[in-house]
Amino acid sequence: MTEQDTNQGIPVPEGDAGLIETDYTIGQDNVEGQLGPFGFDVHNPVFMVSGLSIVAFVFYALALPEQASAVFGWLRPWLTSTFDWFFLGAANIFVLFCLFLIVSPWGAVRLGGKEATPDYTYIGWFAMLFAAGMGIGLMFFGVLEPVYHMAISEPLGVPSPIAEDGSIIPENVEAAKKMGLAATIYHWGLHPWAIYAIVALALALFTFNKGLPLTIRSAFYPIFGDAVWGWVGHVIDILAVFATLFGLATSLGFGAQQANAGLEHIFGIPNNVSVQVVLITVITAVALISVLRGLDGGVKVLSEINMGIAALLLVFVLLAGPTMTIFGDFLAGLGAYAADIAPLSNPFGREDTGYMQGWTAFYWAWWISWSPFVGMFIARVSRGRTVREFIICVLLIPSLVCVLWMAVFGGVAIDQVLTDPTASAVKTYVIDSYVPELSLFAMLEGLPLASITSFIGIVLVIVFFVTSSDSGSLVIDTITAGGKVDAPLPQRVFWCTFEGAVAIVLLIGGGLGALQAMVISTGLPFTLVLLLMCWAIFKGLTSESR
């Protein structure tokens, strides 16, 4: 005898949704077993092939460092200069497709079924997608990019206000200031978030509404049918694991170098490999604790804490800097972005190739190579939102926050450079010599309480790495477990540790640069993957009830 269940506190009922009927059972290709005291449950080819090929590439980079750095060092700029039009054009399509979905009737489709309720509150959700998406980049590029585009890269041919002898050319100042911000906002605004939104929406739709496993291959079901469960799908998933793990490991290696440079600059802590290895070990250890605490107890809590600290730093810089000028910059930058987004995103016939290929195409390849990781993580935490709500929140709100961040950090830095060029540390580290990892600290130096705010800056960098490392382990584990979200915990611990180990090995043996260039090169095949995803999303949405 049974009673009707009462499931308080959980999202029921799910309502209508266009389930895909397939004979495939999640986990049917998995190998389950016990390795000593540890249980495992992994997808057969995906786990082994991606794990072994990662080890093989690390060996290659260590055994033949010059060849590896020559090959990948050539490959990355070759791709971004040869396929610049493709990256720019594709990114434009992603933005337009997202905007179309907001206004289209399919915007009303709810992820997770017609009556699903959101898993997370707006604050928790937003903090997580932001921390995974670009938190770390904001710390690194917030000062560097606006100053660099204002003074050096000359986007759309807008001339630099700084003459070769270091003096200011007053008539160039206004236009260059605006362009510095607009050109930066362009890289951190609608386009990157549209890239993430496409991947996240595709995965959320095919997982929560269609009932397919939470892996990248599921988004291709409308295109390949049941063949996605075979080698086509294996290759897609392996590429995603490969890009995610190397992307995280190389960023972790470089991040440790940046944090070390900051620590040396502020506290005089020696800048060497030993300190950096300690930093990576600490970050990985904290990430492991976060992994063990799970999605809600670990990464969500850390993301919210980091969001709070970052907001405090933003408010401090805003108040300590020339507040009214910054507000003016924010509005002017936003206006310039709106005015220049069309020429900046034009893929053809450009003369500012230094900016377009060296920065824009590079960024697009970078965002796209990260998109399987960030997209999958965003998908995982976005159940219960409508497509319209999802796109607005993933595309427009983070874009606005990035605009504000860039306007504040970049605005203060530009102001420092133009007001007193001889005393500006930002000018020294960005314009006179190129030491990007010190640009944030150089800007903070010009404000009160510099050692405290710089320390907070380093803490933020480290915690953003912890959240990336944690959410990355979650994503890699889910993909290599064939879409299972309840695979044994030691697997997640394994991926988190493996990522830290790869970072340490590459840091000691060399090869961080080469392998990061390789990861960014995966942006090219993934651009095709994303274009196909747009079509798959369209197909998927049209079969949903609204």
Partner: protein
């Protein structure tokens, strides 16, 4: 002595839980208590179900089967967790509060070295709940 017995089940591995299931049924008949079978799932599709409601249906069928086979009163209760791998302890505590059970009977593994790193779910539940907890070794 006991009114409601909560039995956490992993529907993928019911064959390895036979001893615990049998003990729970015996106790239920002895004390005229009802058994509530609790299953924890994520909202993502799994090998058991495409969506939570399908999981709830399977859990309900399982409870019906147990009730019929072993002759006791049974209900089922599904708990959705954002991250079932790491949040199982929280999910079980929540289930205990929601079902109002006063005894938990659950299958557990033989202790090994990993218990020093992360404690068993049964042990954690016993540590944090007011209900009696009976762990049944495989």
């Amino acid at each position: 002595m006991f009114r409601k017995i909560m039995v956490p089940v992993d529907l993928r591995h019911t064959e390895s839980m036979q001893k615990a299931l049998s003990v729970a049924a015996d106790l239920a008949r002895h004390y005229s208590a009802s058994v509530c079978y609790v299953g924890v799932t994520g909202s993502e599709p799994s090998e058991l179900a495409h969506r939570p409601e399908e999981f709830a249906e399977k859990l309900k069928k399982f409870a019906e089967g147990e009730a019929k086979e072993r002759g006791h009163t049974a209900t089922s209760h599904m708990v959705i967790s954002h991250d079932p791998t790491t949040e199982l302890d929280d999910a079980l505590s929540r289930a205990l509060a929601e079902t109002g059970a006063d005894l938990v009977v659950m299958a557990t593994h033989l202790p090994n070295v990993t218990d020093y790193i992360w404690a068993s779910h049964g042990g954690t539940l016993a540590m944090h709940s007011n209900a009696s907890v009976m762990l049944v070794r495989g």
